[in-house]
Symmetry: D2
Subunit: 456 residues, 4 copies
């Protein structure tokens, strides 16, 4: 998942990048970084932690220059004894370069092995290092040409922000799998960000989405220069609408909240239930639950409270405090639920462990029936384009039917949105990347492609 | 505001108190503390910060004993160069004592001055120190009698958890202004907490509310002993329902979320509006907005997103980023709002500064009309019973009529719930403390009583 | 032990107090605090940690006013779940007061019990609270008179800095047990500090020692006013010279380093040894070792290196790493020691555990003989005047003769300075407090007086 | 400067590396790191800060395996927005590798440029990345052969610890410029460290120095395998003896303290002074001052006290507090100095700024004459082999004669050890690297070779 930002043209570039990353914190909380360029030198600060933890006034001041790129990294499982944070900085033949990447290269290991066989070293597990290597190994004279060279060699999902000492380049893969938008501040400063919510915070006007297969070059004293590197084959990731993006963001012309409402309404058509009340799993299921309730004409209530003070470290619980992890975060409102037949709506079902506890929580709170509804199709295939789904074996829907899962969860029923229904909700004006649902690995890769350990 | 907890009878008392305080973090985030008693000694740890920041496994282990009392303190303005955290520990004639207090004594300064004139010293600005002094100064032989002596001398709102080396006492003032409930774990351990949400987390069963004017004594090997110290004159604080308590808590038999729904519905009757959409100010206005939408039969949407990553320190914004503080926290979903006549519902209106920015935010997002609705009456009087309202001069409703305020805010209309409407929503089975609305200082004090600098 | 400072007359009072406390960090590392007074209000910041950890630019700025008092607290053993830090602030009949205290009251428990019986509460374990109580309970009209009243009621060792909103008072007990000196900055600002090393850092000129039994009052627009409250009975603590004060400090006219040299020389006369080399235990034994080597005409070498990076937390050692605690701190230089008969000189011998390891370390490093020499007499009695000696049972010299201890340590001999020799070294111009050596509890108290849990 | 360690053969390898780095903290305080190998995988943790700050029990536990290499990095000036910490980890053709390096490559930029021209990227400014690249680019099949290939291409000073998933290699350049020693624990575990003081702490026996030009290979189940890669041309760095190494370390058979004593004695012969007293600049000048005093037969005193509580951040001083930085750290003992003609001995003179303040400090403390003596020759050339000397322009001795410098400092005289005297002190059994003094850049490079921004 992750988020990237690029800002060009303003003395406040680094501050704008900081606020943009702040507004996209939901896309990645493990680590964050910003690099700046002032024409002569690239400076980089990156570390583990939230944007507000890694940066402060002093650090931002040290990052001089009118161009800044930044990155938020999503926390992935696994042994992270080695810090994988972005942007990745390097000195290479043409000088200095810094790269921020959001996505996932499906031919990562082939590329890496080819590079390694030619003598390259990889200091991290990130795709981004592949990209920097490919640029550095290109025989072209100009960075622009080298970037194009590199782009020919990578496959998969990617949005890139690339910075030299004086220029900035942004690129979106030809499928447009991950979102990327272009905006402009009133003073003329350009900003490119994974989500438009960043524009709203920094006061930038949305100009347009970066086109699939497009590269935009930012250079001092010139208008941004757009080039269509690849023929677009538009397949935006449905998951951005399903749960990843912020509800207020607009991706490729469609508002996320609106899409979720529609999925909820479609779900109501496909998987109705004879119930008294619709509850969302907060905060992820709120919009879909609203649409679902709407579709059924049944009351919607915020019947589960979410605790936002949950910190990072916990005290080992007592014998009396069971299922603590979910209970620390979510609390049912008994008075709302008691004696009711409820539907609980979430945005997706992956392993099913949390859902099981929520069903129990609702039954304990007096629900007479609990119907689980998922505003997305069954996830049966690991995604290779940057959504952190577990391996096939861990995906509950690859192993069990909805009715079996419902039984195991203690739910009275379980219903998913159909793939057709999802498409319908999103609109039939374009095809979507639905790889987690239909296993169509259109951008290279397959269910057996090893998932990279990092998000990018 | 603040929260208190008392746990008696379990080796895990301190852990249970910890989790209870965690679940009541919304009642106070400035400082927190727990003291434990093991029959021989009271131990205390308290400091600035959240519950998860102040305590860790090692610290909890050092707090030995089967009885624990704890406190979360609400952040109040003012020069806090001296740390005011609770519980307050003291050695006195009968040994050791620790006191946690939630509420506000209206005769605090009289009591303090009387004590000071008799030679007492006050090391903090907290009411709690008054209480400890009064117990220590009593001529009675037994702690129980001294506590009763003390209770005769204090006026106002209070819930107390008092701990000696081997006993625990909990007291609620005769008006029952602040909430206090009694629960029990399956292993027999007793717990008393400001809100029932604490019981849900630690797996305790709700037994009953502590009665106004009641003192309950916990002693080893005995059942809790209840004594009615004062004749009850039940006047629970309406503000707990309006915005302070957690929606899943049940106070004196009434669920908070439910009350808010009712206020919203009542508000719809009293202050209808010709609108297309109802939006809450998240998270405080959600339940009332639900009720309001329900009452009007108009769609409800979560059209404003709340950012939960807002940290404590901020970088000074750029020229381009205005009204940052509200924008960092709240983001409107343009697609939902654009071209709509919207009502925005909040739980109360104090100074009006945030509301003004929200109105602007909605208009910028394309709302054609913005109608502000407040699910509470106009706040015209400072509360003296522990709600942190500003001085009379800062309360916008003491100076301006709703229509004037609406005009100043740029809203198309502004409507408050009437006092009668509030009463009706809460049920006419009892009288409520409505001091902020009607200025009825029934428990001593007046609008001119100096507000103590501390929360308690 | 601890340190106090008082600064009067300068806008930079708080900064000067900060630097003074920094220079006296060796007298106490557990906690530190500064309170300031600006004529209207006293402000206080205190916390666990070193001076450089507790304070920063922002915190110092908040402490406004031209008068500041401060305190460093010595780390004492025991359950410190309750933070005992100084100065102690209180509101009392005449307004606000802040007190910093260095020393130990021998009648602390009598005073406390008397106060407690009269209804006082004690929130900490510190003497200082006694002092504040006694001032608050006095019937006198003026603070000056109340302070004198208080002084009549306390016995033991004390140096006090007392601050009202506009005045400052400093007092030294009639025995002058703990050091206290008066200095002045070039701009006229007055400073009083436990050690003169503070003057050197802040650029103050040493004026004179505060006299035993003297109180000096600082007031705006007036010269400091001196009053002899008690008839002096001068008995300064020999331990200040032996090991507590910094070598560059001058206490009552005698330089600490100089005194240590003399003790070392006297020790050479009393306890000579047939050796090749004298080594100090760094850094405490350096000066005495120099004198000892000088006295014997034997070479002196810094044959043990001290590691100054020792932090606070340690990783549990491996099987291979034994006696780690001493080894982490001290390392012998084999080349210097090997094949030599060495004397190792330290400033005092308390429990003997570290010394035993040092002897072993030297033998392992090839010393053919190790003669331990202590530049102080045998410690046979617990001090009640503020030196943190353990209970009588833990003092090795109350139980064993020097030859027995030497044998147990594996040392070839062990020699102490005689009490007479100590007196001779310090000069016979005055009597010294030698209570740890001779058990002469001249200032009240006895070996059986309970030692207070706190340093003060 | 920096320090490296390698441990092979023990489950506690990481702990032993931790303690070894702890004991060599004086060689570098900017950052530290340890990587471990368990046969299958290399794990790495590195960060800014002291050894005790970066590591804790949990982190050490995560670093599994019987082989560990570690590094302490010296703080160098300059824009370090990009973290340069070691070891450097990489994946390359033969698998995984981790490298720790202490020294400085004089042909660094040539190597880097050659690599960059062939398409390599450099993510840091460290030599170590060059080394990893050269290994990765080698065409050899085995790591051993690749390392040898790499060694042919680098020039300058280096000590290396290289780790694959199952083996460890240590190498010392053919000049033996930086120290490196081999030791063994009682349980058979091998340890290689920059200084022997590490062996003393972890309980390892010193076996021998690693020979100039030697590579030792550690492999499971085999004895360490030694290979002489280059013909030795022994030129150990004199600066290790002069000031960098710990006094208790033994480098190439010579104890550091002992060498310093000899330099001090030789200095006394060459630069005598008619004085009453010899003082060291603590702690760096202690041994040399001892030797100097010895040589002259004049008393030695620790007349300047060093404050070890100096933290990292400082409050901006007041007008009254001048020359604060030196005064915070060093305090003269007036009683020792007053009225005396003193010599103050330090280990070297670089810029002269601190010395100037020390001279003033001593004069202010009453010294009638101050003679500065430096137990090393004049530093006239920047070192290119890893000693952090400033550029030629900043070296005071390249611009001024000793008498001019003395005059400017306010000293009554200034004397340096001669180059011949230094050689004599160190023994004429070998040649030393004296490049800072004589400009003999024997290992490649010249006074004009750009100094790398990093220490290694």
């Amino acid at each position: 998942m992750c988020a990237i930002v690029g800002v060009y043209g303003d003395e406040d570039a680094v501050k704008i990048a900081y606020y943009a990353l702040f507004s996209m914190q939901h896309r990645g909380q493990e680590s964050t970084g910003i690099s700046s360029a002032d024409g002569k030198k690239i400076r980089l600060v990156k570390d583990r932690g939230l944007v507000t933890e890694v940066f402060n006034q002093d650090i931002l001041k040290r990052l001089e220059g009118c161009c800044a790129i930044g990155h938020n990294r999503y926390s992935t499982a696994g042994d992270d004894s080695i810090l994988d944070a972005q942007p990745v900085f390097a000195r290479y033949k043409l000088g200095e370069i810094s790269v921020a990447h959001n996505g996932n290269l499906v031919n990562k290991y082939e590329v890496r092995n080819r590079l390694i066989n030619r003598g390259a070293i990889f200091q991290t597990g990130m795709d981004t290092e592949n990209i920097v290597h490919l640029i550095a190994k290109s025989q072209e004279d100009k960075l622009e040409a080298r970037i194009k060279d590199m782009l020919k060699k990578i496959e998969g999902a990617y949005c890139l922000a690339i910075q030299s000492r004086s220029k900035m380049f942004v690129i979106r893969d030809r499928f447009g799998i991950r979102p990327l938008s272009l905006g402009r501040l009133k003073n003329g400063t350009w900003i490119v960000a994974s989500e438009t919510c960043a524009f709203d915070l920094v006061g930038a006007e949305f100009i347009r989405d970066v086109r699939p297969g497009e590269m935009i070059t930012f250079e001092k004293g010139k208008e941004p220069f757009s080039e269509q590197i690849f023929k677009p084959d538009y397949r935006p990731c449905a998951f951005e609408y399903i749960y990843f993006a912020r509800p207020d963001s607009i991706i490729d012309g469609k508002n996320v909240y609106d899409m979720r409402l529609k999925m909820g309404r479609q779900l109501a058509k496909e998987q109705p239930a004879d119930i008294d009340l619709v509850l969302p799993v907060p905060d992820s299921g709120v919009a879909a639950a609203r649409g679902f309730a709407d579709g059924l004409g049944v009351p919607f209530e915020m019947g589960i409270v979410r605790n936002h003070y949950v910190g990072r470290t916990f005290i080992e619980p007592t014998q009396e405090i069971r299922e603590l992890k979910v209970k620390l975060k979510l609390s049912p409102i008994r008075r709302v639920i008691e004696g009711k037949r409820v539907a609980i709506v979430d945005d997706s079902l992956v392993r099913g462990t949390t859902s099981k506890q929520i069903v129990k929580m609702l039954k304990d709170a007096g629900a007479t029936e609990v119907h689980m509804r998922i505003a997305a199709p069954e996830i049966k295939y690991p995604c290779r384009y940057g959504i952190d789904t577990p391996t096939k074996e861990e995906l509950i829907s690859t192993k069990y039917s909805p009715s079996k899962i419902a039984k195991n969860m203690g739910a009275d029923s379980l219903g998913f949105l159909s793939i057709e229904g999802l498409k319908k909700s999103l609109g039939d004006d374009r095809r979507y990347s639905l790889v987690s649902f239909d296993g169509d690995y259109f951008a290279g890769g397959s269910a057996n492609t090893p998932i990279c350990s990092s998000c990018d």
